[in-house]
Subunit: 296 residues, 2 copies
C-alpha cells in the first residue's frame, strides 16, 4: 500500500510521541518535528507507510540518541497480555470452534497497542472484546473475514511463516499458534520478529517472554521497519518468505508493507486508521482476515 | 495561548483539508504539505495557534490560488443553522431561563463547524444537544461555566463587543444577541467578523444572512486569522476592543488568540481538541463560559 497524504499528519504525531517517550525536552521535540518537516519532501509517496515511518523514527533516534523509546510500553504490554493468557485459554476451552476463537483473539490482541498508547482501560476493553468479538466478526463481510479460506490453507500448509506485529500481541499470537498446531500437527511454523527496536514492534525478547519458542522457530526479519518491508529484509528471511506455503501476517503495518506481494498471505489485523479503512472499504476497528487477493 | 507541539500534526491536517477543498490534485496537495513542512521551522511556538494557522492557510491559498476554499461549507452551515432557528426560538420560549438557554445554544452552535467537517449527522447532533445541553453543563465545574458572573457583567454593560466565530454559528449568535437585548435594553452591541476568508470563519456576508444587523452593528476585525490576533487587527477594531466594557468571545480560535489579554472577556466555546482540554483541565467537548481570569 502506498503512503497517502493523510498519513503525513500522522507521521508528525508519531514523531512527537516517540520524541516525548525518548525524554526529549520541548526544544528538542520541536527540533525533531522540524527535521521531519524538512525530510518530508524527499520521501516518495510510492513508498509504503512503514518505509516512511522507519525514516521518521530514525530521525527521532538520531536526535535523541534513544534507541528504544518504547521499551517501557513494550514491557507493560507483555505483562498485561500474559495476565490475559489464562483467560484466553479458558475461553478457547469453552469454545465450539477453538481455532476461530484463537483467530479472533489474535486479531483482537492488536488493541493492546492502541490501548496502551491511548490510555484506554485495556483490561476492560479486552474483556469486552473477548465477550463480543464473535458478534462483531459476524457483521463483517466475508471478503474481509475469510475464515473458511484460512482453514483450507492451514490444513494443507507444511511451512508456515508467521509475521509478528507488536509486543504484548505476541502472547495472543502464541494462543493462535497453539491452536494451529492442534489443527495441523504436521505444519512447521517460523515466527518472524523485527531485528531492532522500532515503535512497539515485537523483538526476539518479546517472543521469548511470550513462550513462542515452545511452538515455533523464532527468526528475525533482518529489518527495523514497522512492517515487513521486503527490500530491507535479510536474505535468510527472504528465503523463508519465498518458500513458505502459507504466510500469516499480523497487524496493519505488515499489511501496508505487503499488500502488493503475490505470496499466499492471510492478513490478520484490526483496521486502525481512516486511511486503511478507506483503502479496505471497511469500518474503523474492523476485524480483518484477508486472503491476499494478489496471490498468484 | 501559545502553540503546543501537538498542534503541529493538526496544522498539516488542516493544510491537507484546505488543499482538498481547494480542488488541488494529489501532486499539488503534496507540494502544499511540503511547503508547510519547510515553513514550520520558521514559525515560533510563542505565537498563538490562530497566528500559525493563518500562515498555513496563506500557503494553501498561494499554491492553489483559491481564496475561499470553505465557501460551500460555509453556505451549507448557514442554511442548516437557519433551519434550526425556529426550533431554537421555540426552545427559548419554553425555557425557564431564556438567557441561559440562549448561552447554551450559542456555545452548542459550535458543533456545526465540527459536524460539517466530520460528516456527522449535524441535525441529529443538534437535536441531541438541544435536549441535553443543560444536563451536560450542570456537570461542568463552575469555574469554567460562570453563568452568574456573565449575568452580572451583562446587566452593567453599555458597550458589548461580540467576537464572531464560524459561519452557521452566526445564527446561534443571533439567538443569544436577541436574548441579551431583552436582558439589558440599554446595551449597544458591536458584532465583529473576520475581514477576509479564513477556514470557515464568519464574514460580513454570513452575519447578514443570519440577520445580525437587526440587533447589532457589524464590523470587521480587519484581519484574516482564524481567531482575533490583535497585532493583525485594524485600528478601528482595536478601538472598539479597548473601549468595550464587556467582550463576548465565541469559539476556540478566539480563546486561543485572546487568552493572555486583560480585557473583560467572557469566552464561550466548546473545547474541541486535546491541546485545549489539557490547557483548560476539562473534558473534550466541554461547554465553556469562562470569565477572563487575567482581567485586571
Amino acid at each position: 500500500m502506498k503512503t497517502y497524504l493523510d498519513c503525513i499528519p500522522c507521521f508528525f504525531k508519531q514523531a512527537l510521541e516517540a520524541a516525548v517517550l525518548s525524554g526529549a525536552d520541548n526544544k528538542r521535540q520541536k527540533k525533531i518535528l522540524d527535521a521531519v518537516g524538512m525530510a518530508m519532501p524527499e520521501l516518495p509517496l510510492s513508498a509504503s507507510p512503514p518505509e516512511v515511518a522507519r525514516v521518521i523514527h530514525s530521525i527521532v533516534k538520531k536526535i535523541t540518541a534513544q534507541k528504544d523509546p518504547y521499551a517501557k510500553i513494550k514491557e507493560k504490554s507483555n505483562k498485561l497480555s500474559l495476565k490475559f493468557y489464562p483467560k484466553m485459554k479458558k475461553k478457547i476451552a469453552r469454545s465450539q470452534d477453538s481455532l476461530l476463537t484463537a483467530v479472533e483473539l489474535a486479531i483482537a490482541g492488536n488493541i493492546i497497542d492502541y490501548g496502551v498508547k491511548n490510555s484506554i482501560n485495556v483490561e476492560r476493553e479486552l474483556d469486552r472484546i473477548m465477550n463480543e468479538e464473535r458478534s462483531a466478526i459476524k457483521k463483517e463481510r466475508k471478503s474481509i473475514f475469510n475464515y473458511p479460506g484460512f482453514k483450507v490453507a492451514l490444513k494443507k500448509a507444511k511451512n508456515i511463516l508467521y509475521l509478528a506485529d507488536n509486543s504484548g500481541e505476541v502472547v495472543f499470537d502464541r494462543v493462535l499458534i497453539e491452536e494451529i498446531k492442534k489443527f495441523n500437527k504436521n505444519a512447521g511454523i517460523v515466527y518472524a520478529v523485527k531485528e531492532k527496536p522500532i515503535i512497539n514492534d515485537a523483538l526476539l525478547k518479546d517472543a521469548l517472554i511470550a513462550g513462542i519458542q515452545k511452538y515455533a522457530r523464532i527468526i528475525s526479519s533482518g529489518a527495523d521497519a514497522p512492517g515487513t518491508v521486503l527490500s530491507l529484509c535479510s536474505k535468510y528471511f527472504l528465503n523463508k518468505y519465498r518458500s513458505a506455503d502459507m504466510i500469516i501476517s499480523k497487524g496493519q503495518g505488515n499489511f501496508e508493507a505487503l499488500s502488493d506481494s503475490r505470496r499466499p498471505i492471510f492478513f490478520l489485523f484490526m483496521a486502525k486508521c481512516p486511511v486503511v479503512t478507506r483503502h479496505m472499504k471497511c469500518n474503523l476497528g474492523a476485524i480483518i482476515l484477508l486472503a491476499n487477493p494478489k496471490c498468484a
